[in-house]
Symmetry: C2
Subunit: 286 residues, 2 copies
């Protein structure tokens, strides 16, 4: 099988790393807009061959892991270049605009809209790791629009990598993912910003930071090139989550201002049930 | 040496666990308002003897690890009960009110105001772990008010447990810790609340959560009994950090509303330097 990965960073690199481990017979081709990343991926053994869109006619499986704005632009061209029996999957954190952009593409049946919920705060080919997708959820949208035989090929690969599959429509995906992923990134980035701003005048502040701060601010290390387009494409949903988050923070502040510490206790106590909720989440501890 | 731990949860339990490991000759006595915790600590081998305040005249070293509102109330009584050559340390996440409450106590020289920056999101005796304090910062306030010989005894123990020591005045401590600890807890609790509220109507939302959400919301598992009094004692500073955090979130929302995605890119890019800052923090990976 000829596997093409377009965009060889953390997501694409980890994907083909496991493919090579589980399917030694697969030939892995890499395409990347950044020639240095391509060289690095080759040197790291993530890919065996450098390739271009012109080589896509040899592809059996294409995994597109580039920022979501580039995905919308490139997917039509990628589909134009593949043969009729090739399946093309994306990995974008937004699904509605991507599905819309391809709705009328003559090769729509060759495309499977995916969002594997996996990642770390790092990026680039050197961030690729084994087992990133083991036990993770892969959300597939508009499955009915993909040719059945091609769905099967993709699902076999996802199964090999240990992923759980969930089916969802693109609208619901974008709405829900805003809460459990996009909002976390904003809360983390703004926490980092607030503390960095303070630190300008207070040099020693970070000496006092512990593992709690580190955990909460971890996502503020994420790639802006990946995240700015996600926020752009999911703007309406993200603004809704931000409105609710800001309101909850203002309500908490109000409890502080009126000295309602029983109220504050109750707020925290009610939220403690996140413990049992999180127990159900398959987490990749990094 | 007779070591007394008052409040045997995560913080006190982990402390005496390492003391027993490093100083096998030490006798460890436990005092706790919750008789079940005391029994559990005994069963887990965290303490060797159950004790009461009446036994404190035998103490050489007392470690007080109870919620900060209880600390303010109990510390005067604890100091009343110890001998002249006993050193009493607290572990509270606020320092100004605690130091003020003891300013005129006749045994002020027996007290060393401490804040070991260590912990996990869990609580109770069973949450106690070995090595919690290894490489962590212990902030000591008003060191000049503690008898020199007693400072030395405490510092020897802290050194044995592998802690780094920093000296700070209580006012500066409370101001800075609001940024790197107290605000993280609020941002995490309110993130948990926002998503749980949404989930009431959207049962499947947590299926979509990944390790990023888990990391950002981790502190929302923390004990309300410990944290409500911290927010109460550090109210002014916490409100200041919350004001800045909410303002940063509203500014980010404004950039979304006006479609300034270059601005959003820059916000994230500037905050990415948290990477290099965090590298300097000794983190207890749990």
């Amino acid at each position: 099988m000829n596997v093409f990965v377009i965009g060889i960073g953390l997501i694409g690199g980890s994907f083909v790393k496991d493919i090579k481990a589980k399917m030694p017979e697969a030939k892995v081709f890499g395409i990347d807009a950044n020639p240095e990343h391509l060289e690095e991926a080759l040197a790291l053994g993530l890919i065996e061959y450098k390739a271009t869109y012109e080589d896509l006619d040899k592809a059996d499986f294409v995994f597109v892991s580039i920022p979501v704005n580039a995905t919308v632009k490139e997917l039509p061209k990628i589909l134009d270049s593949v043969q009729d029996d090739c399946v093309v999957c994306d990995a974008g954190s937004t699904k509605e605009l991507i599905c819309k952009a391809l709705a009328n593409h003559p090769k729509r049946r060759n495309f499977l809209a995916c969002h594997p919920i996996a990642g770390t705060e790092f990026s680039g080919p050197s961030a690729a790791i084994h087992g990133l997708y083991e036990g993770k959820t892969n959300i597939i949208c508009e499955v009915e629009k993909t040719a059945f035989k091609l769905q099967e090929r993709a699902l076999e690969i996802f199964q090999l990598l240990g992923m759980r599959i969930r089916y969802m429509n693109p609208k619901a995906h974008d709405k829900h993912i805003a809460y459990v992923s996009h909002l976390s990134h904003i809360s983390s980035f703004m926490l980092g910003k607030t503390v960095i701003e303070k630190e300008k005048n207070e040099r020693d502040i970070f000496d006092m930071a512990g593992s709690g701060f580190e955990s909460t601010v971890r996502l503020a290390k994420s790639s802006p090139a990946m995240w700015a387009p996600i926020f752009e494409q999911n703007k309406e949903n993200v603004i809704e989550t931000l409105n609710e988050y800001i309101q909850n923070l203002m309500d908490f502040r109000e409890l502080l201002l009126v000295d309602d510490f029983d109220g504050i206790y109750n707020e925290m106590n009610n939220t403690n049930k996140i413990k049992s909720i999180l127990k159900g989440i398959p987490i990749n501890k990094k």
